[in-house]
Structures are given as structure tokens and as C-alpha cells.
């Protein structure tokens, strides 16, 4: 009994500590200052400031973030999903090599990826910041798409595809009518992952955008504000709060849905094994 209470207390403590900083951000976004103090009492000033007095640069960086995330995650999803089908059908040896290289951007530390891409773009004299950023983002997003489509392909019974061919479907048609719908859940979750990772990225964006390009995403603009004296204006806390609520909400929604689905699947399996 004591043990149970201690265990619950410990888990609760860890959960509380994980959430404390981000809850503080939301609480103090109503303080009217960028620091964690309530000198002026409860106020919406920071929110008003965000929508009336925030610099244009903030909105530009938001637009850049979204454009880069949309373009690179759509491209990564297309390249990755098609590639997964191809990799799945490769011979074991070449398949293993390709899968290992696919793993590289995931296991590699971000800073190494970032400087290697920076050197690469500098060597090839690719100057346009958007081109650099989109190519860079596709590079680290695509492996996640491949990894999320692959399990669906492995679960798929190859007989289904062959049955479609036997019933007179052309390979292309069988592909579109059978394989694509089957892997679609994997494609969609790969897309969601690519989109979030791209939105969230800071290190690779910061190093590959080019120092003098003047193009900023939300995270790099935040970083430069953090580093300039007086750059942390009160409107940043509302920005953080909105991001926190949005991110937590979306991730929770996606996971609760997949969790429910999994639960249903497990129940079915249990019935079967009985």
C-alpha cells in the first residue's frame, strides 16, 4: 500500500516537473512582462501588444515557417512514400544499405547534419535561403516518412496485390487501388511527423539559412531575439503560449485517436486468440 502511494507520488512528481515550465509560460503570459513576475497584476497587455505592436518580422517569420513546413513535408511525403515501396521491393543486401543510409539523418546529431549541409550549399554556391531551407528540411524529414510507411508495407499481404493482378487489374491500377489505400495511414502519419519536425526545427534552419540571407523562421527569429539585449519583448510569452496550446492539443489529439484504434485492434486480437 505504502509502495503504491510512493509509486503514484513519484510519477505525479515527474509529470508535474515536466509541465511546470510550460504552464508557467502560459500563466505569466498574462503578466504584461517577458519575465516570470506579476508586477502589474493580471493583464491581457501582452496579447494586445502581440496583435497591435509586434514587429512585421514576427509575422514574416511565421509565414516563412509555415511555407517551408508545408512545401518540405509535402515533398518529403511524396519522395518517402514512393521510396518506401521501392525499398521494400529491393534485394536484401541493397535494401539493408539503403535503410542504413536512411537511418543516418535520424541518428546523426543535428549540429553535424547542419554544418555538413551548410558546407554543401556553400560549396555548390546555392545562395537562395528558401531553396537551402526546403532542401535541408526535406533531407531530415523524408527518413521519418519512409520509417512510417514501411511497417504498413510489411503488414500487407502480398496476395492482395497479386489477386488484383489476377482479376485483371494492370500493375499501375493495382498499385493505385490496392497498395496506396493500404499504406495511406502510414503516409498520413509520416506527413504529420514531417510537418511537425519541420515546424519545430531550429538547429539545421539556423545554420543552413545563410547568415546574411535575412530570412528567418519563427525559431531562428526567436533565437536572435533571445540574444539581443531587450529582444525578449512581452509579446513573446503569448506567442509561446499559443504554440504550447496548439502543439499539446494536436499531439494529444493524434495520439488519443491512434491509441483508441490500437485498443480496438488489441481487443480484436484477444478475441481471436481466445
Amino acid at each position: 500500500m505504502v509502495k503504491k502511494i510512493a509509486e503514484r507520488g513519484y510519477i505525479f512528481l515527474i509529470l508535474a516537473l515536466m509541465y511546470l515550465p510550460i504552464i508557467m509560460v502560459i500563466v505569466f503570459s498574462f503578466s504584461g512582462s517577458s519575465r516570470f513576475t506579476f508586477t502589474d497584476g493580471f493583464t491581457f497587455d501582452s496579447y494586445v501588444q502581440l496583435f497591435t505592436a509586434a514587429p512585421q518580422k514576427l509575422w514574416d517569420s511565421l509565414v516563412n515557417t509555415v511555407i517551408i513546413a508545408v512545401v518540405s513535408s509535402v515533398a518529403a511525403t511524396a519522395i518517402g512514400s514512393v521510396a518506401a515501396v521501392g525499398i521494400y521491393n529491393m534485394k536484401p543486401r541493397s535494401r539493408r544499405i539503403v535503410e542504413n543510409v536512411n537511418q543516418l539523418p535520424i541518428i546523426n546529431s543535428e549540429i553535424v547534419m547542419a554544418v555538413s549541409l551548410m558546407l554543401f550549399f556553400a560549396t555548390l554556391r546555392i545562395e537562395n535561403a528558401y531553396v537551402r531551407l526546403i532542401l535541408g528540411h526535406i533531407t531530415f524529414c523524408t527518413p521519418y516518412v519512409v520509417l512510417s510507411v514501411m511497417p504498413r508495407l510489411m503488414q500487407m499481404d502480398p496476395n492482395i496485390y497479386e489477386a488484383a493482378l489476377d482479376l485483371g487489374a494492370s500493375p499501375v491500377k493495382a498499385m493505385i487501388k490496392v497498395v496506396v489505400p493500404y499504406i495511406l495511414p502510414g503516409v498520413l502519419s509520416g506527413f504529420a511527423m514531417a510537418f511537425t519536425i519541420s515546424l519545430d526545427d531550429f538547429i539545421i534552419t539556423q545554420l543552413t539559412k545563410g547568415a546574411s540571407s535575412g530570412v528567418d523562421t519563427l525559431s531562428t527569429y526567436l533565437y536572435s531575439s533571445l540574444r539581443t539585449a531587450g529582444g525578449m519583448r512581452p509579446y513573446w510569452l503569448p506567442v509561446f503560449s499559443i504554440i504550447i496550446v496548439a502543439v499539446v492539443g494536436i499531439v494529444l489529439l493524434i495520439n488519443v485517436r491512434s491509441y483508441k484504434k490500437e485498443g480496438r485492434k488489441k481487443e480484436k486480437n484477444n478475441e481471436k486468440s481466445r
Binding site: 519575465r35 521501392g86 539503403v98
Partner: protein, 272 residues
């Protein structure tokens, strides 16, 4: 006639489509060669180039003889080890307790959820908490920040591994006369080593290569190896910067090698 032949060839190609579905992978293979492999080769080449573009070992020499660089590396490794140990000590009980709960995986999800918020925001929040508590920023706050940022990477693989341990091992140990401590030490703990290794790798690597976190949490008095690499490149010192990146890459590859070897023995889970 020729057109017909050509057409026929095309058709037979399409008929062989199933066999050649692997061509779907080729665009991505080319893409990876261009944007993953080639940049790393350029990095390798740059490590051996002097400022005039000639071949040299000086970059290695200047890194390994420079006290400041070596001290940053040593400091990063120390912070990395302390952070990893703290994550393991704090995270293992979490994963262990949650593996026994039916609601365990939901709670793991809740624990890792804040990780999806950008690390700059979380680090700023942590720094503001330290500021309002009048905690002096320094190596201690850096370590707290690293643990806060990376502990989800420890809990996740540990929870997966521990949850997948067949409970009959622990039962067998108990039947053979082990008390609960012995059961844990002799059965659960050894069986969770693959998870421990994954967690260690996933915490240690991002900690030593961290960028921006330690600067924010120490008023730029503590630098991690990642910050140091970035500084080289912003000061146009491509040669030593490349050498340091290669050292970082070596850490990544070595740790992942051991991690994969430990995880290989793991049988495919729950096939039946």
C-alpha cells in the same frame, strides 16, 4: 514498324513492372546521395584542407593541441555523462512503474508531450524560473536543463523494453526462490539492457552536441561541443570545425553500433 517495336518494348517493360518496383526507390537514393552522403564527404574533405585549399593535417593538430577546445570537449563529455546518469536514475523507476500500470503508455505519452514544444521555448521557461528563484546560472543549471530536455528520450525506450519483457521470467525467478530485489537485479534489469543502451545513446549524443541550451542556461559561461562546432563555422574556421564534426560523428556511430548490437538479439515482438 520501329515505332511498334518500341511500343512493344514499352509494354513488356510495364508488364515487368512488379519485378522492377524497386526503381521507385531510385529517386530517393539519388536524393540521399546528394544531400546526406555528399555533404558528409565534403565535411571529410574540409577536415584535410588548409585555408588555401591544400592538403594538410594541421586541422587535426590544431584541435588536439588546443587547450581551450579540449577543455570544451572534456566539459561536454562530463556534462553528458552526468546528464545521462541522472536521466537513467530518474527515468528508470518511471519506466519500471509505468510498465506495471494498465494506463502506462498513456502516461508515457503525457510525459513526452512537452518535448514537442520547441526546445528554445522550454529552455527560456526554465531560465525564467531560475531567474525568478534567484538561482545562479552555471554548470548546475545547464545540467538541470539538459535532464529536463532529454529525459523523455530515456523514458521512451526503457518503457518499451521493460513492457515487452515476458513476465514469466520474473515469475520463474520468484519460483526459484529470489526475493523481489533479487528478481529485479537478476532478471528484469539484465533484460532491460537494450532499452538502457538506447536511452543512454539518445540522451548522451544530443547533450554533448547541444546547441544554444547551455549558453542560455549559463549566460554563455558553459559551452557544449555542439556550440563549439557552431562557433568554428561562424568564424569561418571550416577546417577545425570539420574535424570537430567528424569527432562528433564518430561518437554517434560508435554509440549506435553498440546500441544496435544489443537490440539485435531481441526477438521480433509478439509474433504470436
Amino acid at each position: 514498324m520501329k515505332a511498334k517495336e518500341f511500343f512493344g518494348k514499352g509494354i513488356s517493360k510495364i508488364k515487368n513492372f512488379r519485378l522492377t518496383r524497386r526503381v521507385f526507390a531510385y529517386p530517393y537514393v539519388l536524393f540521399m546521395l546528394a544531400f546526406v552522403v555528399a555533404p558528409l564527404i565534403i565535411l571529410l574533405v574540409n577536415a584535410f584542407l588548409d585555408t588555401e585549399g591544400g592538403f594538410t593535417f594541421d586541422n587535426f593538430k590544431s584541435f588536439f593541441t588546443d587547450d581551450v577546445s579540449l577543455r570544451v570537449l572534456g566539459m561536454s563529455l562530463a556534462v553528458g555523462v552526468i546528464t545521462t546518469v541522472l536521466c537513467l536514475v530518474i527515468g528508470y523507476p518511471v519506466a519500471y512503474i509505468l510498465s506495471k500500470w494498465s494506463s502506462g503508455s498513456i502516461i508515457v505519452l503525457l510525459i513526452i508531450l512537452p518535448m514537442w514544444v520547441n526546445f528554445l521555448i522550454r529552455t527560456y521557461a526554465l531560465k525564467s524560473i531560475f531567474d525568478s528563484l534567484d538561482v545562479t546560472l552555471g554548470i548546475g543549471t545547464v545540467i538541470v536543463g539538459m535532464v529536463y530536455n532529454f529525459i523523455p528520450y530515456m523514458i521512451m525506450p526503457l518503457h518499451t523494453t521493460i513492457s515487452n519483457i515476458d513476465p514469466s521470467y520474473a515469475e520463474a525467478a520468484k519460483d526459484l526462490g529470489c526475493n523481489s530485489v533479487q528478481t529485479f537485479l537478476r532478471s528484469t534489469l539484465p533484460l532491460s539492457i537494450p532499452g538502457i543502451l538506447s536511452g543512454v545513446t539518445m540522451v548522451f549524443i544530443p547533450t554533448i552536441s547541444a546547441f544554444a541550451i547551455s549558453g542560455m542556461l549559463s549566460n554563455n559561461t558553459v559551452l557544449m561541443f555542439g556550440d563549439s562546432i557552431n562557433l568554428r563555422f561562424t568564424h569561418q574556421l571550416y577546417g577545425t570545425g570539420s574535424v570537430m564534426s567528424l569527432i562528433m560523428l564518430a561518437f554517434v556511430l560508435i554509440l549506435n553500433f553498440f546500441m544496435n548490437r544489443a537490440n539485435k538479439g531481441e526477438a521480433p515482438r509478439n509474433v504470436w
